[in-house]
């Protein structure tokens, strides 16, 4: 139920409503909970509302970071796999 799906804002309308593109499907949602959203923003949509503006660059960065994680603790448990 707490599913939220990424969408891109394509057109801002009046009353803080906007058209967003969700995998090629256009929906009208409210941006009233994300005042920073603008045309072109990636947002997370839940129950007809954008609830978060997603920073795409930040998402890419954190993905790259995980790739580089190595065990640095110095005292790892024995690898059993």
């Amino acid at each position: 139920m707490c599913l939220a799906i990424p969408a891109r804002v394509v057109l801002m309308n009046e009353n803080q409503m906007a058209e967003v593109d969700i995998h090629g499907v256009t929906r009208t949602v409210s941006l009233s909970l994300t005042p920073d959203a603008e045309t072109g923003s990636w947002v997370l949509i839940h129950a007809g509302f954008a609830i978060q503006v997603v920073d795409e660059e930040f998402a890419k960065e954190s993905w790259e970071l995980i790739k580089q994680i190595e065990w640095v603790d110095g005292d790892p448990a024995e690898v059993s796999a």
Partner: protein
């Protein structure tokens, strides 16, 4: 972004994280997720089978539909019997059994029950049907509550006095405290719900780490997201730390969503709430503030449902606390299947029983 989603399903990255998790898990640990979307992601992507034997992934009371008490469902059903009422709600609520019936059965019997995608659709319905009373059954955690708050604010602004909300919303952090205090459960760490955390941020969970020394990591919903959350928890436990961290940084800001929280605080105030399987947890409900009493269905309609009763044999309550696994219930997969569900954990697509039944071989 679509490419990015694919990236968060990258098998190589997943394998890398499983190796790291295996390194970190130097003793048996029990991690619990408290979000139906995590329940489904873990089952659907087979993540439980990727875990080293030391790690148990449990599902907790994370499905808002499942944790809704019979008493509340019975009240919603009773409202459909009031002359002129149109009951609107999310599709997930339709099939959930109360003590005696479900909204779907009431609809089949001719009551006016409608599924909406957004609570704003229910507000529009009230504008379109001025001679009817539109009641929205508000279910969900902090992720959903801001949308319902906006619906009430919109109805107030438009002067729609034929719209009201029956609020059975619940909030997550204090429910986790109830689980931590439950000796039967004994959780080592929480996979915290990503989109609840989108709204509230990491701060409200901090007491779990500080007071109870139980770590938590706000986690996203793609396989790599979940594995990253599990790894961060396993690493904390390995290092003897208990902190609240965020793995799902593209979806959770350090301060959450303050605008959304302000809307919740404007319309709702904390109240006691009854959770299926757990009982009443003080301060985990969201009652409509007296200023908005005109849009509170619980006050507008004077209805009293018959006393609630539990479903015989159904162990949904124990499943929601993580003390019984779905396939340990006698009904699971025999009398109770997604086609013929008996309890809410099998009815809801995000219920633990439905997720185990659809995506795993356990108990077959």
């Amino acid at each position: 972004m679509t490419d990015l989603q694919a990236a968060w399903r990258d098998p190589e990255l997943a394998k890398h994280l499983v190796d790291l998790i295996t390194q970190a898990a130097d003793r048996p640990i029990k991690l619990m997720e408290v979000c139906g979307t995590h329940t489904v992601a873990i089952a659907r992507f087979g993540l439980r089978d990727l875990m080293p034997p030391n790690i148990a992934l449990l599902s907790g009371p994370g499905c808002p539909v499942c944790v809704t008490a019979n008493r509340d469902i019975d009240l919603a059903i009773e409202l459909t019997h009031v002359d002129g009422v149109v009951l609107a709600t999310f599709g997930d609520m339709m099939k959930v059994p109360g003590s005696y019936s479900s909204l779907q059965r009431e609809k089949a019997d001719g009551r006016d029950v409608r599924i909406v995608y957004s609570p704003l659709d229910a507000v529009q319905l009230a504008a379109d049907l001025p001679d009817r009373q539109v009641v929205f059954l508000g279910v969900g955690f902090e992720t959903t509550a801001p949308a319902i708050a906006m619906a009430i604010l919109t109805a107030a602004q438009r002067g729609l006095d034929n719209f009201s909300v029956l609020s059975v919303h619940k909030t997550v952090p204090l429910a986790l405290e109830a689980l931590v205090n439950d000796p039967e459960v004994a959780i080592d760490g929480f996979i915290l719900p990503g989109h609840v955390s989108t709204i509230i941020g990491p701060e409200p969970y901090r007491f779990l780490a500080e007071r109870y020394h139980v770590p938590g990591v706000a986690t996203g919903f793609e396989p790599v997201d979940v594995l990253q959350g599990v790894w961060m928890l396993a690493k904390q436990l390995h290092e003897g730390r208990a902190e609240i961290e965020v793995a799902y940084r593209r979806g959770v800001s350090a301060d959450g969503n303050p605008t959304a929280r302000a809307r919740i605080a404007e319309v709702f105030e904390p109240s006691d709430a009854e959770w299926r399987g757990i009982g009443v947890i003080p301060g985990t409900g969201l009652a409509i503030r007296p200023e908005f009493a005109a849009w509170d269905a619980a006050l507008r309609f004077d209805v009293t449902p018959p006393p609630p009763k539990e479903i015989p044999g159904c162990q949904c309550g124990e499943v929601l606390r993580g003390v019984t696994l779905p396939f340990e219930c006698k009904l699971f997969g025999r009398a109770c299947t997604p086609e013929h569900p008996i309890g809410p954990c099998m009815v809801s697509s995000e219920g633990s029983c439905a997720a185990y039944y659809r995506y795993t071989d356990y108990g077959r």
